[in-house]
């Protein structure tokens, strides 16, 4: 069950998109999000949709994989849809008791659900085509100007890397502890909220203890490998901003600028 989560997963490849500088991809993603919230009509979605299709095709990502990423968030999408459907005022099409469906409600709910889907799919393209390390390197580099005001950009990036590294390990461990406690008769599924919360103790306590043990061992191992913070560190893959990165970034600024401008037409 836990293994179904594909958000944040990297899909290795050797395409133009994979090779782009992570900073270009991060900035593009930010532009994408901003542009998405600027859109107030349906038709600019077509451009955004085409953009997504183009990226997916160029990066050779399997569509199935992307759709799978939507699954765990389906609940949120449906809630958004229903809330907008029920609570938007306007021209009533039909009503059932206190519930009434309006024309604006339908349009608004479809619009919001689409926005959410595009948001999830669009941002997942970043993590699908960028290795977590490249991503953290990109973030570290983009944040480095703020070091002057005391932002620990290297430390933040290292924390992200380690978190990403240990997510699968900890998920596996959770699964194992859960099974072990179930073998001792623990019940994680029934009862009211209070009982359920209580039943998590046999899962959470060992999980925390093991996480601390891991952290301690990892810290020792990192020290043994001469880790002493970001000062004086070099990188295997240094970020290089070349001509293709500049070209892509400029095109993205123009493209999303155009989409944002549709708001004022």
């Amino acid at each position: 069950m836990l293994k179904d989560i594909t958000i944040g997963q990297y899909f290795p490849g050797d395409t133009l998109i994979h090779k782009l500088d992570p900073r270009v991809k991060i900035l593009t993603s930010i532009l994408f999000i901003v542009a998405l919230f600027f859109v107030k009509d349906f038709y600019p979605y077509i451009f955004i949709f085409l953009f997504i299709v183009a990226v997916v095709k160029t990066a050779k990502l399997p569509v199935k994989f992307i759709l799978k990423g939507l699954k765990p968030l389906m609940f949120i999408i449906i809630i958004t849809f229903v809330i907008n459907l029920l609570f938007t005022k306007g021209e009533v099409l039909f009503s059932l008791g206190p519930i009434s469906i309006t024309k604006e409600g339908i349009s608004q709910s479809v619009f919001m659900a689409l926005r959410l889907i595009l948001l999830i799919v669009g941002t997942s393209l970043l993590t699908l085509t960028t290795s977590p390390i490249a991503l953290t390197d990109g973030i570290e580099s983009l944040l480095s100007p703020f070091r002057k005001i005391g932002l620990p950009s290297h430390e933040l990036a290292m924390m992200m890397t380690i978190a990403l590294r240990f997510i699968p390990t900890l998920l596996e461990e959770t699964d194992k502890i859960m099974k072990a406690q179930m073998a001792r008769g623990a019940d994680f599924e029934s009862g009211n909220i209070l009982n359920r919360a209580k039943s998590l103790v046999p899962l959470l306590v060992p999980l925390f203890i093991n996480a601390f043990r891991r952290a301690d061992e990892l810290a020792t191992a990192m020290e043994a490998r001469c880790y002493r913070g970001g000062e004086g560190r070099t990188r295997l893959n240094e970020l290089k901003f070349d001509r293709k990165d500049t070209t892509v970034l400029l095109s993205m600024v123009l493209f999303f600028g155009f989409i944002m401008s549709t708001r004022y037409w």
């Binding site: 290795s131 977590p132 390990t169 990192m222 490998r225 990188r235 295997l236 240094e238």
Partner: protein, 278 residues
């Protein structure tokens, strides 16, 4: 002459406070040991014998309470040179999961050289060479959590190799692996010793691994109780049993038969040797 010694441990003791009753305990007691360059030394002992403490003193992870440890002639108390020491005496730990930092194999291998400030081009070369040496080149773009235990441990070894150490200290590297993983790792270790001429210190409680070493030291309650070639060590069946350690089954069989009055070589450690001597 002095240059022949990779690690020199002189009258070292290590004290710690017991968390049960706050009493002062000695993990290592007045121990001296010289590890020669290019040597493969196995340190055998059961849990709590002080072997991990001793290992951590060999690269300055912990400092002795009394006595001195020299790595490549440098005292581990010399704070300015601690990174030299750690890059020259690398260390591989028990749990492969808890020593891999990055999410891609080659980026993890690069972690050590990156910390040392090596230029990117040189790191690239070292990463490729190290992965080659442990036979993991084809996995360089893989995510570590999808590898088997033995493969993860080999990646961890490559991560140390990339710092170009003279000596690698292995702290029970196979304790959490299955038989095939153990075999992979032990093959890698012997290869590094024979082909790359790395000094190896292997801390273990598996006697079949200690058999592969040039020299074995048996540690008990922080003291060096036996030292010699594997053959000299394993022929002392009674002593080892008393210390709670294993001996190869054939060695024990030979020992039992001798007790019954049969004239058999005392120091058989392989099936072949016992068959021959019967």
């Amino acid at each position: 002459m002095k240059n022949d010694i990779m690690i020199n441990i002189e009258n070292v003791s290590y004290e710690y406070k017991s968390y049960v009753d706050d009493s002062i305990q000695l993990a290592v007691k007045d121990l001296s040991l010289q590890i020669r360059r290019g040597e493969f030394l196995a340190i055998l002992g059961h849990n709590g014998s002080g072997k991990s403490t001793l290992a951590k003193m060999m690269n300055g992870m912990i400092l002795p309470t009394r006595g001195e440890v020299y790595v490549n002639g440098i005292n581990t108390r010399d704070e300015d040179k601690i990174w030299d020491i750690r890059s020259k005496a690398g260390m591989v730990f028990q749990n492969p999961d808890n020593q891999i930092v990055a999410t891609i194999v080659e980026e993890d291998v690069a972690f050590g050289p990156e910390n040392l400030g090596i230029p990117p081009k040189e790191i690239r070369k070292r990463v490729d060479d190290s992965l080659e040496a442990v036979g993991m080149s084809e996995y360089k773009k893989h995510a570590p959590h999808l590898l088997s235990g033995g493969q993860k441990q080999r990646v961890a070894i490559a991560g140390i190799l990339a710092m170009e150490p003279d000596c690698i200290i292995f702290d029970e590297p196979t304790a959490m692996l299955d038989p095939s993983g153990r075999k992979e790792v032990m093959e890698t270790i012997t290869k590094l010793n024979k082909e790359k001429n790395k000094t190896i210190v292997l801390i273990t409680h598996f006697m079949d691994e200690a058999v592969l070493a040039d020299r074995v030291m048996v540690l008990n309650e922080g003291e060096n109780v036996l030292m010699g070639t594997p053959r000299e060590i394993f022929s002392q069946v009674e002593k080892l049993k008393e210390l709670g350690l294993d001996v190869p089954q054939v060695t024990e069989l030979a020992y039992e038969l001798r007790k019954e009055g049969f004239d058999i070589r005392k120091d058989c450690i392989t099936i072949e040797e016992l068959v021959e001597s019967l």
